[in-house]
């Protein structure tokens, strides 16, 4: 490893810090995303490890959500979006021709910024994924999946007597935990979270953060967040994006105590909003 320049200020150079990790599960190499003529992400390379949380931070419009949506090919739904470079999951390119995005999204689940339960019952919300993928042979098995998923999402106690009530009748925090339960019901390998707590109050946020701590024992979790405290609390590694560039990646402690790049420092000290 070459000696890194101290507090570099240049933008557009190599990502500083360490984009590599032990045990990488998803690997992005030189990823570029274009929305029409807009070059939204430039040459991003990043490794995402198993059983750990990596937080993507950066000012609004820096491309962190765009990068996140590349990881399960949600950008496919945007007609003008074009992705180049290479992203692999367990060694296989997810943008290769034979890769069915449907199959990919069963392995890489996603939790969205705004809780978005289906306007169906709580049970049906959680059972939807297993149903479409045919994960349960019979009703009893499906019941089992729904219960375990709700339990792991820390929601079972609150809803077990009203599984047939609409998911939209829950509070915001409960809805978000329902969405997490719905995601883990499919038993994915990676969970992408796009600012999962930005619409929640501090108590609900704390619950979700606890949940992430538990879930990262089994899943690789990538979380986009605007809250540096949250990134500091839940993540093992942090990636700082700025204007479509991945500026710095490192262990969370290192980023927050000794950032290598001037921009990272400005951001975490509150000089860039």
């Amino acid at each position: 490893m070459p000696e890194l320049p101290d507090r570099t200020t240049e933008l557009g150079g190599e990502t500083v810090g360490n984009t590599r990790c032990e045990n990488p599960f998803m690997v992005a190499r030189d990823v570029n995303v274009y929305y029409g003529d807009n070059h939204a992400i430039q040459n991003v390379s990043l490794e995402i490890g198993k059983k750990q949380v990596i937080a993507l931070i950066g000012p609004s419009g820096c491309g962190k959500s765009t990068f996140l949506r590349c990881l399960n090919r949600m950008n496919d739904t945007i007609e003008t979006a074009r992705v180049t470079g290479r992203i692999t999951l367990d060694g296989k390119d997810i943008y290769r021709k034979e890769q069915d995005p449907v199959a990919l999204r069963a392995r890489v689940g996603m939790v969205f910024q705004k809780p978005n339960p289906f306007p169906k019952s709580i049970y049906d919300n959680v059972a939807y994924g297993p149903r479409i993928h045919g994960l349960a042979a019979d009703r009893a098995e499906l019941d089992g999946i729904v219960h375990t998923s709700l339990e792991r999402a820390g929601l079972l106690k609150e809803v077990k007597d009203r599984l047939d009530e609409p998911g939209t009748s829950l509070s915001g925090g409960q809805q978000q935990r329902l969405c997490i339960a719905r995601t883990i019901a499919v038993n994915p390998e990676v969970i992408l979270m796009d600012e999962p707590c930005s619409a929640l109050d501090p108590i609900a946020t704390a619950r979700i953060e606890d949940l992430m701590d538990e879930l990262c024992e089994d899943y690789a979790i990538v979380i986009v967040t605007h809250s540096m405290q949250q990134a500091a609390r839940v993540s093992k590694r942090v990636a700082y994006f700025h204007l479509g560039l991945l500026v710095e990646v490192d262990e969370t402690d290192k980023i927050f105590t000794n950032p290598q790049h001037k921009l990272t420092e400005d951001y975490i000290t509150g000089r860039i909003g």
Partner: protein, 425 residues
């Protein structure tokens, strides 16, 4: 602006002007609404004022002797030659004495509807044992008698300008004094097809024609419209071609309906050789007419489904098809149904294209299938409005009232359906 003024003073200076603007705008809005309401009230008042009387019809009480030698000359009931009209006439002669002259008699006979004979015939067919007895029956009076009773014929007018002569009016008065004239509910209006005699004319033929037509229309336009909307909105690649299709669909919704009638005439009748005047062809033409409306409404309903629901399903690994059928369609269905019902009510009120495909014919029989000659309610209104008899005027209004009733019912269904099926998210 004076530099010495504070922000507060500047705000207060402009406040009066802002209030005045708001007040003027409100007043204008209220005025516009009032004008609309007044027009509507005048429309309904005139319609009901003209049409309400059509639901009543003057009937005449006659003691008809069902003579055996007329009805069953050989001992057997012979309906083919039985002269029921003659029986009615002699009953009428018995009631109004002193009419001997042949031309006077004919004038007298004109007071009773030609439907009286058919009514007697139905009576005898239902119960042949009545032959030989004398039956007291209420038979429909001629429409001119009805008009006189309802006050629609001016007695003070010169005799030559009236449809009824002085003598006839005298006879009507005699009948009235004997208590033989009575205003009763006009059942014929709802159970009969069209007729040249206003007192026998009904809207059942037109209602059934409209019914069969709408059945064809809804069966075709709803599935085709929804399928097209889903394809265009969810699956079709956005390209110049899809833009072109979109513009054309919007244009089609504004094409004058008579053009669709001409198209139907050329394609369905001339080229495909489907029967003329048939509800089937009418339904096909109205399908063309309502399709753009349904497609536009359905696309709007699909667009209104929040993208977060789509993303949630896609993120779980649902295929595009599963996203559409599990999530988008259930949420968009109320809007689609509303659009369809509004399209249907437009189709129900449409007359111009039907004129082109021969549904404007005078048809007495009530249609029993999709290929029977038929007419439709709005066309019936047009036909009756075109008829010279005074009694058709009130029937025209009555038919419009019935048509509006159906429209109201359909729009109400649309509102209720939407309220019922609307789901919160």
């Amino acid at each position: 602006m004076d530099k010495g003024l504070t922000t507060r003073q500047k705000v207060e200076a402009g406040l009066a002007r802002r209030r005045r603007k708001e007040y003027t705008f409100r007043a204008l809005g209220a005025l516009a609404t009032a004008v609309g309401v007044i027009f509507l009230a005048v429309f309904f008042a005139s319609l009901i004022g003209n049409g309400a009387s059509a639901f009543q019809q003057t009937f005449m009480l006659l003691d008809v002797e069902l003579k055996e030698d007329v009805l069953a000359p050989g001992g057997e009931l012979d309906l083919q030659y039985a002269d029921f009209d003659g029986l009615v006439r002699s009953a009428l002669r018995d009631v109004v004495p002193g009419v001997s002259d042949r031309s006077e008699r004919r004038a007298l006979y004109r007071l009773v509807s030609t439907g009286a004979g058919y009514q007697l015939r139905d009576l005898v067919v239902a119960d042949p044992s009545l032959v030989g007895t004398t039956q007291t029956v209420w038979v429909p009076a001629a429409s001119n008698v009805d008009m006189l009773v309802k006050g629609n014929i001016d007695r003070n007018l010169d005799e030559s300008l009236r449809p009824l002569s002085d003598k006839q009016i005298g006879w009507v008065d005699v009948l009235d004094q004997q208590g033989r004239l009575e205003s009763r509910f006009n059942r014929a209006l709802f159970t009969n097809g069209d007729s040249r005699d206003p007192e026998l004319a009904g809207i059942k033929g037109a209602v059934m024609g409209s019914f069969y037509m709408l059945l064809v229309t809804v069966a075709l336009s709803f599935p085709i419209g929804v399928a097209a909307a889903i394809y265009l909105e969810e699956f079709a690649p956005k390209s110049r071609l899809s833009d072109l299709i979109e513009v054309n669909i919007n244009n089609l919704a504004a094409v004058p309906s008579i053009v669709f009638g001409l198209l139907g005439l050329a394609v369905f009748i001339n080229w495909m050789a489907l029967p003329r005047s048939a509800p089937l062809v009418g339904g096909l033409v109205l399908t063309l007419l309502t399709l753009p409306v349904i497609i536009i409404a359905s696309r709007a309903a699909i667009k209104a489904v929040p993208p977060s629901i789509r993303e949630a399903a896609l993120g779980l690994g649902a295929s595009q098809m599963q996203v559409v059928f599990h999530h988008v369609l259930p949420l968009a269905l109320p809007g689609m149904l509303t659009g369809t019902i509004i399209g249907m009510s437009r189709a129900l009120g449409e007359s111009a294209p039907l004129l082109m495909i021969g549904m404007v014919a005078f048809i007495v029989d009530v249609p029993g299938s999709f290929s029977d000659p038929a007419t439709a309610l709005p066309v019936q209104v047009y036909l009756w409005a075109d008829s010279p008899e005074r009694a058709f005027a009130e029937r025209t209004s009555a038919a419009i009232i019935v048509l509006l009733g159906f429209l109201l019912l359909m729009n109400l269904t649309a509102v209720i359906l939407r309220k019922r099926m609307e789901r919160k998210w």
